[in-house]
């Protein structure tokens, strides 16, 4: 049962071959068995999930029409608001926080019949690339439990890879869906900025954050994206762009698709095994009918500093609301307002979050704003132009999702700069606002490798179509970790 894709589960339930309750129980059992090892979940909402599964079964028994995700278990990164369900962003400062409202994605998922199994572990406030910045401890990679699952949506990626859920939602700011997707051997899709509502997503960097699906197949990612995408009156940054039927784009055909590869940008610092896997994947796509050409992204090499200026600036402001006044952790016995603020935040935030708040505060400070923040915005524009120029020649840009396979827990925790460099290939798509996907494309010493494809604005269909066609001619996506 737990090996099934979301689509198969949905169809089985709809056609009476399985009950939503049985499906829910099977995945809950798997989750409860593996979570002590993986630490992928911050919170498993078993009773709530079973009650909802039962409701789906009742709906079906009554002959009511079922939603496109009816009975499909799903896990949500713990930075999405679910009314009445503890939502911590893996931060001590929100250890006891229970939202009073549902995120738009939650409303849409539940309206489509999805069954939320629980909230997944992540880097605190989605800040990190290894899931080690969590107040609830690191998540372990199902393929090798001494390795990180990537981050920040490490729990969601690990949960999907370990078959605790068929699909999950993560949020991607600088690669937080795609990089853990790559490390855990699953599909991770970051939609175009504005494609999916951020209402109810605990903000890290508002101009970059985007919720995206993780799944084992492109078809499942397409299915979930179709449900959560679309304009939202509660999020002024969502686009009015019509939402196509992403599943319909999965033709299995890549004939005539033009793939650009920024060779110069990939020249340094990429693990040879990763490069080999990516080249093999491109050769496979080429033999399936796609053309592969070189493109240039001259400003991509500045993407890391630009990203860490923009993202931290926004984060420093977004995290100001965690002040101990209204919700979340408040220091005991503070004598003054200032002391309440500084101690609540000092006790509540972890070291990486503090580092980024300080960096962002500095970036926005009088006298530095022009030199750092404004300059970063200018380079961001140049980067977007690089892609625009590339898309005059090609339909997608391909590169590795991450320069290495999953690294060991603890490997980079003492060196934040090394950790930031792990994002080199993922930060430019969100800076440009473009959609990007990570597709499993091989293994190195038993560790998954991801191929990243970046597409035109709102052209998730193209990304999913290529990923799906690639899945059909390879078997990387059907591999399952031994855990």
């Amino acid at each position: 049962m737990v090996q099934q894709t979301a689509r198969a589960i949905r169809d089985d339930i709809a056609q009476g071959r399985a009950s939503a309750s049985d499906v829910c129980r099977a995945f809950l059992e798997r989750t409860q068995a593996l979570n002590p090892t993986l630490n992928a979940f911050n919170h498993v909402a078993a009773d709530r999930a079973l009650a909802r599964a039962k409701a789906i079964d009742a709906q079906r028994a009554a002959g009511a029409s079922l939603g496109p995700l009816a009975g499909v278990p799903i896990a949500l990164k713990d930075n999405m608001s679910v009314r009445g369900m503890r939502t911590t962003a893996s931060s001590k400062i929100l250890d006891t926080y229970v939202p009073v409202y549902d995120a738009t994605v939650v409303q849409r998922l539940e309206a489509a019949g999805a069954v939320i199994l629980g909230k997944t572990n992540c880097d605190e406030f989605a800040m990190g690339s290894s899931n080690e910045n969590s107040a609830y401890g690191p998540v372990r990679n199902p393929w090798a439990t001494d390795r990180t699952p990537g981050g920040s949506s490490g729990g969601s990626a690990a949960a999907v890879a370990a078959r605790c859920v068929p699909v999950a939602l993560g949020s991607d700011t600088g690669g937080s869906v795609r990089q853990p997707g790559s490390f855990c051997g699953v599909i991770g899709l970051k939609p175009t900025y504005g494609r999916v509502s951020r209402y109810g997503l605990l903000a890290f960097a508002s101009s970059l954050d985007q919720i995206g699906p993780l799944g084992r197949t492109a078809a499942d990612a397409a299915l979930v994206l179709s449900v959560i995408a679309g304009a939202d009156p509660c999020d002024a940054t969502t686009a009015r762009e019509p939402v196509p039927d992403f599943s319909a784009a999965l033709t299995g055909d890549v004939k005539g698709v033009r793939i650009g590869v920024p060779r110069t940008f990939m020249a340094d610092g990429v693990d040879p095994a990763v490069l080999r896997a990516v080249d093999d994947a491109l050769a496979t796509l080429n033999s399936a009918g796609a053309t592969v050409v070189d493109v240039e992204l001259p400003h991509a090499k500045y993407a890391i500093p630009v990203y860490y200026l923009v993202a931290t600036a926004e984060a420093s402001s977004n995290l100001a609301r965690y002040d101990g006044v209204k919700y979340g952790h408040r220091a005991d016995d503070a004598k003054t307002l200032r002391e309440m603020y500084s101690r609540s935040r000092d006790e509540g935030f972890g070291p990486e979050v503090k580092r980024r708040i300080m960096l962002g505060t500095y970036v926005l400070s009088a006298g530095y704003y022009d030199a750092f923040y404004l300059k970063a915005l200018q380079v961001r524009t140049l980067l977007r132009r690089d892609y625009e120029q590339a898309f005059e020649k090609v339909d997608v840009v391909a590169m590795p999702t991450a320069p290495t396979p999953a690294f060991r827990l603890g490997d980079k925790t003492d060196d934040p700069l090394q950790m930031y460099l792990a994002d080199i290939f993922t930060v430019s798509a969100p800076l440009a606002g473009l959609p990007a996907i990570s597709v499993p494309c091989g293994f190195a010493d038993g560790l998954p490798i991801g191929l990243q494809l970046t597409g035109r604005f709102f052209d998730e269909s193209m990304l999913l179509r290529i990923a799906d066609a690639y899945e059909r001619v390879t078997d990387w996506s059907r591999q399952s970790p031994a855990i």
Partner: protein
């Protein structure tokens, strides 16, 4: 040395929308604490702002009325600072690119007319309210009411074009009139719908360069503003004359002591770390929208006043009084049209009606005598059916009872008496009954005549035709 003050004002005006600027919560004043709140205006994790269209239209309306250029693209920005009544840790405002730039407002003080320039008008959200008093544990705790959090405001920033406390107060007052006239602000300063901060400096007369300014906060009435400016000007002059230097600082007006005191120095000033609000797209206002707002605007008070002078031949003073609010001006025009006696309508409304409104603490909308009835009364007066005195009495009765003026005049027999015979009999009674006064008059004390006229009017129950009564009284006094 003679000093000259230089004053610029920053005025925050609450826009009269039904709901808040970034969410659907009510803006009604006076609700129980934290009863008009939601995830957005409470700054709950993950909540996002969505701009209220009506608030934008009101802001555009105010900006147009104040002669500003509406910007085709303006940008919301975050002003970052920590305070418990600021739920998100930042205020959404506008900074580098405000909604409107450049404008002006003409004021006249002591015969001197000045065009006070406006630097900008921008939109922003209000913060909540800290409650430091009134709770059993107020010595240890502060409570916060977020009902006001997210209420839409415009901030109107003037150029430093005012040169006296009186000009400052007049500017604030004229601005209020216009905002209220437009219907974008309720003008209620007690409820904080209109608030003012003043930038004040002094310099020796003739010096071009500005002196160091102090910002005076919390001056929320015309009277306080004038007093605060006067105090601050005197204080700064005294500092300089005493050999000191004015410090750049923020000062707070204390209406209990009529003084300003230092709140924070320049060194302690916040670095607000403004940056563009990533949760809101740029505010784009196209020409069609500006025109639609312009079309919905009432004629401005100054314009309407001039029209009243030209079209109805009113005095500048009466026209000014009648254009204090749209409602009052509309009321006047309705009466003028219906009675076809514009000047009489103007005199009556700007005189006795205004007095009655003030006396009863009413607005013209609440005045029970509606234009048709007042028109009838004015026609009765102007056609000599009733006298001026009677007209006032009848109006009083109309206000109290809502009765028709014709009916009052008829049932109470108030129609003017122009019958010579009956007037003469009253006059003879008065002459007979006031021998002393008559004697004094005849001895040359002319003032006594007025007293005697009054007695005749009284004797007629106010109905005597005064012109005729005076004539007849004079004749009778000289006859006998």
């Amino acid at each position: 040395m003679i000093f000259e003050p230089v004053i610029g004002l920053e005025i925050h005006a609450q826009l009269r929308t039904r709901t808040k600027i970034f969410c659907g919560c009510s803006t009604a004043f006076g609700a129980p604490p934290n009863s008009q709140v939601c995830p957005v205006c409470l700054g709950m994790p993950g909540a996002l702002p969505v701009l209220n269209r009506q608030a934008v239209d009101y802001a555009i309306k105010a900006a147009l009325a104040l002669g500003c250029d509406i910007q085709a693209g303006s940008i919301f920005a975050r002003k970052n600072y920590f305070y418990p009544d600021l739920p998100k840790g930042y205020q959404i405002s506008q900074y580098e690119r405000p909604l409107a730039l450049r404008g002006g407002l003409e004021i006249t003080v002591e015969g001197r007319t000045t065009l006070v320039g406006l630097t900008r008008i921008h939109m922003e959200e209000d913060a909540g309210k800290s409650l430091h008093e009134g709770f059993h544990d107020s010595d240890r705790r502060t409570y916060v009411d977020y009902n006001r959090s997210g209420v839409p405001l415009i901030e109107i920033v003037s150029e430093p074009d005012m040169r006296s406390a009186a000009e400052g107060a007049e500017f604030f007052s004229r601005l209020r009139d216009i905002l209220v006239w437009l219907g974008v602000n309720d003008g209620n300063m007690e409820e904080g719908s209109l608030r003012c901060d003043a930038n004040v400096s002094v310099r020796p007369v003739g010096q071009e360069a500005f002196g160091t300014k102090a910002e005076v906060k919390n001056v929320n009435s015309f009277r306080y503003l004038q007093k605060a400016l006067e105090y601050e000007i005197e204080r700064q002059i005294a500092v300089i004359e005493g050999g000191g230097r004015v410090l750049q600082e923020t000062r707070l007006w204390d209406s209990a002591t009529d003084r300003t005191h230092s709140m924070r120095s320049k060194e302690e000033a916040h670095d607000y770390r403004y940056f563009p609000e990533p949760d809101l797209p740029p505010l784009v206002v196209d020409a069609a929208r500006i025109e639609a707002v312009r079309a919905s605007m009432p004629m401005l008070p100054a314009e309407r006043k001039q029209r009243f002078v030209a079209a109805y031949g009113l005095s500048e003073y009466d026209a000014g009084v009648l254009t204090q609010s749209v409602e009052l001006a509309d009321y006047f025009e309705a009466v003028a049209a219906e009675s076809k006696r514009a000047k009489l309508a103007a005199n009556t409304i700007s005189g006795v009606v205004m007095f009655m409104l003030k006396d009863r603490n009413m607005t013209i909308d609440e005045f029970p005598v509606r234009p048709p009835d007042l028109s009838t009364l004015l026609v009765l007066l102007d056609t000599n059916v009733i006298s001026n005195t009677v007209a006032k009495d009848v109006l009083g009765k109309m206000v109290e009872s809502g009765r028709d003026p014709r009916e009052i005049v008829q049932t109470e027999g108030l129609a003017q008496n122009s019958d010579e015979e009956s007037l003469l009999s009253i006059i003879r009674r008065v002459i007979a009954g006031n021998g002393d006064a008559v004697a004094q008059y005849r001895a040359g004390k002319a003032q006594t005549f007025g007293f005697l006229v009054g007695q005749v009017m009284k004797g007629s129950g106010g109905t005597a035709n005064p012109r005729l009564a005076t004539e007849l009284l004079k004749r009778e006094l000289s006859n006998t």
